[in-house]
């Protein structure tokens, strides 16, 4: 099994940390993983994206132009990555702020109203965990218990008190993804 994922949105949406938790979850189930961010000035408030690969085999390129899954959290990323999903692949997006919705017919498209839900829950910080939960609902590539272990590993211990609310976010997301096509 190899899953090649791009997660793309604004800096500050938790794109990189979502990828990191996913990668750590892969390590918890003894997979090979890579996490390759776009880095640079664009980190500061501009677009941010990260390529995450989980595989049972040695990972070749950590940098890809085609993905099994694209998780898209803003319009710029939609413009850039809708076409980068492999035929038969998955596109998961938050419709908040999206003006041009995806139109491809050869891929599966799911939407997740994560920012709205996070706002309703009064905790916008768990937005990315809701998205992660939705992704795992559609593609359960890592077990929830391994995600929790991954959270423990990726968060410094001074932030471990935040794990329960992150777990809640993931569980909320697991109930939410809605198939579009």
């Amino acid at each position: 099994m190899t899953e090649e994922i791009i997660i793309a949105g604004f800096g500050g949406q938790g794109v990189l940390s979502m990828g990191k938790i996913l990668a750590y979850s892969g390590i918890m189930q003894e997979q090979e993983v890579s996490w390759m961010p776009s880095y640079g000035p664009e980190m500061r408030g501009g677009t941010a994206n990260v390529t995450v690969i989980l595989s049972d085999e040695r990972i070749s390129s950590p940098i890809l132009s085609k993905f099994d899954t694209a998780i898209i959290l803003n319009q710029q990323s939609m413009d850039k990555f809708e076409s980068a999903v492999k035929a038969g692949g998955l596109l998961l997006y938050d419709p908040h702020g999206i003006t041009k919705h995806p139109t491809r017919k050869d891929i599966q498209i799911y939407k997740i109203d994560a920012s709205e839900e996070a706002a309703k829950m009064g905790n916008t910080k768990i937005f990315n965990m809701i998205v992660l939960g939705a992704y795992l609902k559609v593609k359960p590539i890592v077990k929830l218990e391994n995600v929790i272990k991954g959270l423990q590993k990726s968060l410094p211990s001074r932030h471990h008190h935040l794990i329960p609310e992150n777990e809640t976010g993931i569980k909320v997301g697991l109930e939410m993804a809605e198939k579009i096509n």
Partner: protein, 359 residues
């Protein structure tokens, strides 16, 4: 089984340096490698192992702090990215001329000039042909994974002391910034002052009545003496072939060979898989040491294949060494991207088709 950690290449080499028993690190921040110094500072190595970590006033000062410390037999290291490595060249030349061990990390970014902070392999010539003034070589290791970033910190110190020569770890922004799982070796003890005096009698540790004073210099005012010194250095650079490293993937039945190092070798491995899925028998040769260079191995393959494609994130630097190894035995083509652009696996397959197969 040992625990795996998820880390950036820059963090992994910093952790590995502490574990390898490094005595000191001197550096100056520059993207995309500042995590090395940041990680070291956060780890409080002065408490963990007694290692000294200092943010210098410049890359020039940092390499000269390394120079001074290396004279006393300590395991010392510095890191930077391209523009900073250019600044260090004077010190590196002095260290090579004075035969001093150290580990230098270059996380290459695009150039020339201030360039870009995006990844590049534009410093290949600088790395393998010397870099600063005078006739000298560095032992050059090119990691292609976070695990190798960690392993090469330890290996780098071993080779630096084996040859009494600076070792350059030539990475790029991809290897520095990407996270992968990594497993570390156990903490090695730092060398004691007594061990240094015993193992490295050439060091400037203070003249005792038992020995003449030790002088570390790269100055030989008499030409004949300077030539003798140069001959000795050249013999040493040749001897480094003992520690040549490379990796061959699916080369045995290959019609076409991709040659790439570092992060580009990883991308080329994907290209090789795509090519094979398209019925093209492609293989990959990855030089792990860039100096010494696997010329003999490339020459050996050249007689058996229909063509070689060298892929680099520059305008074509290693390809010159590949051509020198091939000596016209088979066509050698080049595909490169510059300025921080990264070649995609697909475009490399297209280049293979267009430049070698289709032609």
């Amino acid at each position: 089984m040992k625990e795996y950690k998820l880390m950036k290449g820059n963090e992994a080499i910093a952790e590995a340096a502490i574990r390898a028993g490094a005595d000191g690190y001197f550096g100056y921040p520059i993207t995309p490698q500042s995590e090395v110094l940041e990680y070291l500072m956060a780890q409080k190595p002065h408490e963990r192992t007694g290692m000294v970590v200092l943010q210098a006033e410049s890359e020039i000062a940092a390499i000269n702090m390394v120079y001074g410390a290396a004279c006393t037999g300590k395991k010392v290291m510095t890191s930077s990215s391209s523009p900073g490595i250019s600044l260090k060249q004077e010190g590196i030349s002095y260290m090579a001329g004075s035969e001093l061990p150290c580990v230098i990390l270059n996380v290459i970014r695009g150039g020339p000039g201030l360039g870009t902070i995006q990844p590049s392999q534009g410093d290949y010539f600088q790395a393998v042909k010397g870099g600063g003034h005078g006739d000298y070589k560095l032992f050059v290791l090119a990691p292609s994974s976070v695990q190798e970033m960690a392993d090469f910190a330890k290996l780098g110190f071993e080779l630096a002391f084996k040859y009494r020569n600076p070792v350059l770890i030539l990475a790029d922004g991809i290897i520095g910034q990407m996270m992968e799982k990594v497993q570390f070796f156990d903490q090695q003890p730092r060398i004691t002052d007594e061990e240094i005096i015993k193992k490295y009698p050439w060091t400037t540790t203070g003249k005792t009545p038992n020995r003449e004073r030790n002088i570390i210099t790269s100055l030989y005012l008499e030409a004949i003496v300077e030539e003798q010194h140069n001959r000795k250095l050249q013999e040493k650079f040749k001897r480094m072939e003992e520690d040549l490293m490379f990796e061959k993937i699916e080369c045995d039945d290959a019609d076409y060979i991709l040659i790439a190092y570092g992060s580009v070798a990883r991308i080329c491995q994907k290209s090789m898989e795509l090519a094979r899925a398209n019925g093209i028998k492609a293989g990959l040769l990855r030089p792990i040491t860039l100096y010494p260079f696997p010329s003999k191995q490339i020459s050996g393959l050249a007689g058996k294949v229909k063509g070689i494609l060298t892929v680099e994130m520059n305008a074509g630097q290693m390809v010159e060494d590949v051509k020198l190894a091939v000596m016209g035995k088979t066509p050698v083509a080049f595909h490169g991207r510059m300025g921080g652009m990264i070649p995609s696996p697909e475009e490399i397959v297209s280049a293979l088709k267009n430049k070698l197969i289709g032609g």
